[in-house]
Subunit: 315 residues, 2 copies
Amino acid sequence: MQDLNLRYLYEAAKLGSMRAAADSLGVAVSSVSRQISQLESELGIGLIEHGRRNIKLTETGVLLIEHFSEQLRLNEAFDARLSDIKGLRTGRIHLAIGEGFIGQPLSNLLIRFNAKHPGLFIDVHMSASSNEVVRLVAEDDVHLGLVFQSSEDPRIRVLASVRQPLCAVMNAGHPLAAHKSLKLADLKSHRLCLPEPSLRTRQLLRTAESIEGVSLQPSVTSNSITLLKSLVQSGEFFTLLPVLAVSKEVENRQFAAVPIVSSALQDAAVQLICRLGRRLPPAPLRMLDALTAYLEASGATIDLSGIVKETPTKP
Amino acid sequence: MQDLNLRYLYEAAKLGSMRAAADSLGVAVSSVSRQISQLESELGIGLIEHGRRNIKLTETGVLLIEHFSEQLRLNEAFDARLSDIKGLRTGRIHLAIGEGFIGQPLSNLLIRFNAKHPGLFIDVHMSASSNEVVRLVAEDDVHLGLVFQSSEDPRIRVLASVRQPLCAVMNAGHPLAAHKSLKLADLKSHRLCLPEPSLRTRQLLRTAESIEGVSLQPSVTSNSITLLKSLVQSGEFFTLLPVLAVSKEVENRQFAAVPIVSSALQDAAVQLICRLGRRLPPAPLRMLDALTAYLEASGATIDLSGIVKETPTKP
DNA sequence: GGGCAGGTTGCGGCAAACGCAATGCAGTTC
DNA sequence: GAACTGCATTGCGTTTGCCGCAACCTGCCC
C-alpha cells in the first residue's frame, strides 16, 4: 500500500472525478483509474462505486481516505520538524573538549551562539584527556572536538589549527613571573605541578624534554587543570599550560604566562577536529563556523582546508 | 517520500547493517544503499553517518525512524479496521424498503442477522413509495432495496423476485372474508380504502382495472399502510395489499386475505434490487444472502441470475 | 599491510507506471 | 429515442525507476 496510489484516490475523491484529479496531479486519467483499481485489488475490497459518472466512495473508501489524511498530517508534522532542523531552529550539537578549554572565552562563545540560535541544544562534553576527545570524535559520539595538539589519528580530520604555545604559568608574585622568556632548564629550580602523563600537554612536554636534554620533575600531577590552577594560585607551585587555559587569570594580572624557548612547545597548536569523511548536519556546521571564528580571534594561523560541508549531492 | 525507501532505512537501522537489512528484506545490498542515499537527497539532509562499518543514524535519521514507526502503527490500525470489514466484524448495511415490508418476518430476519453479525450496523430506510426506493438504490444511497413490483428502470438490477399476488384484505368478520377468491367486479359493493396512486400497489391495480374494465372507487387513500390496516381492522373497510404486508394479521386470523382473479395482480412480485453494475461490499453481500433466503421462505420462484459479487478481479 | 566485512557505484535487465488512443457507458439534449 | 457529451476503462507501446550482479572502495582487525 503506497502513498502514491492513495494520493490519486484522495485527489479523485476530493475533486469528485478522476479527470479533475488527473489534471490536478498532472497525469493521465488512465493512471488514476488504474491506480485506484489496483488499490482495490490489493486491499481486496471496493473503494469507489463503479459505473457512475462521478466518484463516490464506499464505506471502506471513506475509511481509507480518513486514514490517508491522518498519514498526511503525520508527514506534515515531520516536514515541519525537518524544516526546523534545516533552518537551525532546532538541532543538537555535541562537542568534546579538553578541560583546558573551559573558561570565559568558550562560555562567551556559547552564550552568543545560544542567543543567535535559541532552539539549538548544545552538549559540551569535557574529557579527561585528548585521547578521549579523539575517540569520541572518531566514533561519531560527538560532532566536533577541540584538542590540544591532537595525535595523527588517520580517522581524524583537522578542520582548524591555531598555534597555542605552552607557557610557564605562575602566580603574579612568583619569582619566575618577572622573566620575559624562559628556557626549560630555568624551570628546574622551582616547585612544579603538571598535568598527568595521559594528557596531551604532558606528552608534548616530554618531546621537548628529550630534545632539550632536560628532565623536569613535577611534585604534583593531576588530570584536573582546575586543581593545577589552584596550586599555582597559592604561589607555591608553577605549571606548564597553554595560555588559553589561563587567559582569564592572565588578563586579571593574577597569573603570569611566560613563553618557553623550545621549538617543540612553540609549535604546539589547538585543533578543531571531526571524523574524516563525516558530513556534518546544519547545526554542528554552524557551530563549526563559530568555533573557527573563536580560534581566529585567538589570533593565530587557521587551516581551513578540507572542511566537508553537508550537501545533498556527494562531494 | 515513499514507504518503500523508509522500510529499507528502518530495517538497516534496526539490524545495524545494510547487509543484514538486505538479507532480511530479501533484496540486494546495493538497493538498500541506494534507497537510503536517495532518501537523503530528497530530504536534503544526512540520515546515517557515512564512512563507517556499521550503520549509525544521525539526529535526523532517528527522527525519521520514529516518524516511520508512527506511520507503521497507523497502517496497522487501518489494516485491523479493514480486516474487521472483510471479516464482517464491522460494516454498514443500508436498506431501503416500502412500508409494506415492515412486519414480523423482516424483524425476525434482522434479529437473526444481528445475532450472527453483532458488529454490523443496519439501517432500514422506509420509503413512502417504491419510486423513492428505486431512486435511493440507483444513486448508491443504499445498498439494496425491497420493492413491490419495481419499475423497469434501466439503472436497476433485479437480484431476486418472488411472486406476491395482490389480495383483497379485510377483517375476519367482513362479508368478503368468506370467499375463496374474488373478481375485481365483486369488490365494488363494499367500502374500499387504498394506497395512494404514488404507491406501486396502486399503479398495479390501475393496470388490472383497465384490463378487466372495472373501476374501483376508494373512499380513503393513504401512503401509510399502517393507517389502511387500521381502517381494515375496524371492519368498515377492506383494501388491496400484498399478503406480505399483512402476514401477521392473517396468521392471527384477524384478517383474511382473498386472492383476486386477475393475471395482472397474480403476477405481481416482490423484488430485491440493487444498482446495475454495483459491486457490493462484504456486509451488504451477506445481507443479500439473508434477504434472498427470506424471500425464498416466502415460497415462490427466485430469480438469482446476474448477482454481482464483490471480488478483487473484475467480472 | 593483507585479509575481511561492509558500503558504494556502474551496468544491463525487467517490471511498474505512464501517455495516447480507442472503447464503453451514463446522463443530457434536441 | 438518437445523437451527443463527459467520464471511466482498457489495450498497447514507451519510459522510468528499481533491482541484481559484479567490481570497487573503505574501515577495521589481525
